[in-house]
Symmetry: D2
């Protein structure tokens, strides 16, 4: 049994890790930290876990995280990079759900996250936890920087196009019009996320610039092996979970004959958690609610030169905790889908 610790168990990615790990057959939950809730049973804060999780929150200083095999950080940005060095030195693997180990260029990290990076050497070692792209590196990694929720959907949506040796689309002018449920903002008390503010409403935000842009560009360029250009416009949807990314790419004249449906199906053949739907499909976010599946549909309206890729995922599962468990399974030699076979909850 893998001994698991969770740092920061009071947010949405924390409780989602608990939902997935409590019944996971290869895992023993050892410790969950929260300075503020030290001593409180986890199930008192989240009654949905009554009967499933018997642990209490521990203050970090009493948590003995070094006795775990792996520690997940479901914390604000900056926490994982402070604690990872000691844990790694103690032989503990680390999976960070925040942004500390995502962006390889420390200057870019500091620009977007407003803090210096305290361990650039570990950053260089860290593996970007997107199994469909980096599976082999993840298997042997000690330290994982998990992708953000939007970046997961954008990268897996564009990847089959960009992975081609010769460019198929105008890679300098990609557009991602993304829509997220409000759990993406986390379990923080903020006026804009109140039901009375965010329900029966729709808006864009962060059009000037969003932290998930540089991360996504870095990932797409790694896939393409070429420079790319991306405009990313996020929107807030009055729903709890789910991301729907509508991606636009202009087909190059020389690639007009490509069968894009086949291209996507081949690229993702054998991938357990990516479902390329039949041509003409309109995936719904609820079709992946509570599951680690990501679904894609490829459209070419009117047979023209603009490709429209529709991608849905559950931002808390494939976009966060589920992808973390998927990486953990790979790192410890388990079947990749162990504990991740939930049927989506519909309706």
């Amino acid at each position: 049994m893998i001994k698991v610790g969770i740092v920061g168990g009071t947010g949405y990615t924390g409780v989602e890790l608990l939902r997935l790990l409590a019944p996971h057959p290869g895992v023993e939950l050892k410790v969950i930290t929260s300075r503020k809730e030290d001593g409180m049973p986890v199930a008192d804060m989240f009654p949905s876990l009554r009967g499933h999780v018997a642990l209490k929150f521990s203050a970090p200083e009493n948590a003995h995280l070094e006795s775990c095999d792996v520690v997940f950080f479901a914390t604000p940005h900056g926490v994982a990079m402070a604690q990872a060095p000691a844990l790694l030195a103690a032989g503990v693997k680390v999976i960070d759900l925040a942004a500390d180990f995502r962006i390889k260029d420390t200057a870019v990290f500091e620009k977007w996250y407003g803090m210096p990076h305290s361990c650039p050497d570990l950053l260089a070692e860290a593996v970007y936890g997107l199994p469909e792209v980096n599976r082999e590196a993840i298997r042997t990694a000690r330290l994982i920087g998990l992708p953000g929720c939007y970046p997961t959907s954008m990268q897996l949506g564009f990847a089959p196009l960009l992975a081609s040796v010769t460019p198929l689309v105008a890679e300098a002018t990609l557009i991602a019009d993304c829509k997220s449920g409000v759990s993406g903002a986390g379990r923080k008390a903020e006026v804009t996320a109140l039901l009375a503010e965010a329900s029966d409403n729709f808006k864009a935000y962060g059009v000037k610039g969003h932290r998930h842009l540089p991360e996504t560009v870095q990932g797409l360029e790694a896939i393409a092996g070429r420079k790319i250009g991306l405009t990313f416009v996020p929107h807030l949807v009055p729903m709890i979970r789910g991301i729907h990314s509508t991606l636009y790419a202009t087909i190059l004249p020389e690639a007009r004959g490509t069968d894009f449906q086949a291209l996507f199906e081949q690229y993702y053949e054998g991938q357990r958690f990516v479902d390329v739907m039949p041509a003409g499909s309109h995936p719904e976010t609820r079709s992946v609610r509570g599951s680690n599946m990501l679904r894609i549909a490829v459209h070419r309206p009117d047979g023209g030169d603009l490709l429209v890729i529709l991608v849905v995922e559950d931002n808390l599962v494939k976009g966060a905790a589920g992808q973390g468990v998927q990486c953990m399974n790979l790192m410890f030699g388990l079947e990749e889908d162990t504990g991740l076979c939930q049927v989506p909850l519909l309706p």
Copy 2:
């Protein structure tokens, strides 16, 4: 034109006052205070008011509230009682949307609101702003304590039963099972009011005791002229606006022959803002969305001895700002429904 000031214009009752008062034909909006937002145009915070409200927020010390004819307090409990004495002394009328002037017994006030009452003499003078019950007193009042949102629905729902000279129902065992949209909790950053927490969810809260209980009991006893007993169970509905109160009263054996539908229709005859619906109706909260109307339906399931009264109101209008404007109209000799003729927004 009535010169109006608003203290605390950044919450939901504040912005609702602005929605109602901006186009009100008898009103000139003079000042809106907010210490935190001093100098910011109101319409920058609430873009819905662009083109309707040109005012900026003023810090309280620069607000010259004493030059107004009437000042509304849309503030946390405790603010109005600190400022009302000076305003009243300056000849300004005061309408408090908070609880400072609702509960006549200062010991009861202090128990439920956790603060001493600073001006018991004004409290004694204050008129409870429920026009359907207190219209004449309101006309000549200087100081109004507006009812809470739940208490408005409970009092107007039970009033026709309790106003009878001889009791019709078992007055010691009244039950009010009430359901409110989340705007009732105000525009405060709290985790429990987040869309991700409160939507697709339903729960009771405060079953042990809620501040609106003593206020409602006081009001019902004033209507009855007798002691009454009430159990009040509030619930949170995943919607923005609206209160639905389901009231239960046991018919006394000697009152079994009463025509309760007729009783309600007669009691509310001529009341502009109370709509007794046809027998058998199920009023919906959306049927009053954005309007000052309160709708009531009277049921007697299976012809038995339990009366079921259904009451709906918009908690921000008849339950708060609208009722305040209704009182203001009465206090300044305007038609009672001036500026309050909005057609509810449906769907």
Copy 3:
């Protein structure tokens, strides 16, 4: 492996059965019928089942239901009683999620469901599928009439009070103020269930009388061994899943000394799917979303004589499909919670 057939797989209880049965370790899904969708892969209608359910819908006449060990009816009222006799004769067990085998008195059935009962003898044999009350009878039953969603919550909420040999509460004047998400109305195209009608709205319905009243009274009288009286007021909540029942019972003078919290805890001790929460709790519907758990909290406001019982369940799980699987497990000698250990989905 238990060979399972489902009649009527296109509604919400049908798709919920599929969600629970597809990963159930003791079950082999053999057939799902739908006359209208004959030949369509189930996962084409419900993409959430892609990769989990490979079956196609079959027209009833080709379904070979008699080769199954058990057949679930997730159909409109009247279908199960037409087909059950032949299936039972062929040795197939039957679990009906509709009302055909709930109400023992055929006159009452006919009054509320507007159709004659075609097999009163089977009705007499049928076992009411509420395991916490009827576990032993369910183990040996051939034919199960599953409780309705509201009746499950009302019966389990009142049961500990009524099961006492000497009455504890005024049993003639019980009140159940119940609130349900809209999936309770089924997957039928009806204007009142449209998002544009039902969201941001709250209303009561069926106050004059609802089909779940006679069923609940029958169940409560069976538990009590005495006549009882119940007023049941259902309401529609703008959410997908979940029932919250707020139950009121007046404590008899001689029972004022009872420790009701202890009474409930003892009554449900050892019950896998009933969670009596700590005193003072307010259970939320989302705390059971997607799971077969029902949670109860016992309140006695102000120490008075009115008991307030709060009950939550997922109407599609403990209120329908999950309870059906729980009964199936008992009927086939499996552990009662096999395939029913889902952690609720929160947020």
Copy 4:
């Protein structure tokens, strides 16, 4: 007073017309038709109108529409073109909220709406009811084809760019990623619009082709005086009202120096119902809820060559009924905003 008739008063655009016209100071509501609801008071179907609309539905044959000054058609496609000729002959003006008089090319109409056009001569005469573009023609029109909800937002969002004599953006590759609340689908009983299907969910639809595409292209080409190309991807948002269109246009090299914020502000200067927000704004749909206002924000992320235009409107007001009233005001010489000064309902 303008005598107004409404054909088809039972849908969402019908009830919205009633909400706007009942208190309109220049209008007398004469007749509302509905074959199915003949004789039923309108307020029985829509209790929100109790006290505001006293009319009953009339069967069309008894409706005496020819005695009206203007008749609104809030009907399915095809009804208006059948009845308009006789009404116009009787001197009655006609405003059609459906698609009968929008598309000038009858072949295109027939392709997208699946029915032949029965009066091409009137179609040629009909004026497209977009006042910000066609104001003078509307003033003297007898027959108005009102724009669809999506087309209103797309045309007003792109218009300032396309109206330039020399092209500013790549007009062949415009993209409109649009999101609509579910009331846009009308008050029809359809499974996909149920709350249990559409809430807590997000999806694209009609990516292959949507009826609002040819209408929008026709309108944009009329504005530009040049051919344009548009990809239109509509999405369904789990909210009642509101459209948010996110528009993408690539700036031509020669136009990189343009001040697009100023361009939009100048283009819409003096327009009562178009609000060009300050640079950097993110308009929310709720900021126009219940009002005839359309708000626009202009973005140029990172100062690059892609322009992102955000547009919000209430699909039932500026996208339908409100725009109809705006046209009516123009046609009868009233102030354009008569009866259209509602403050948006927020929260």
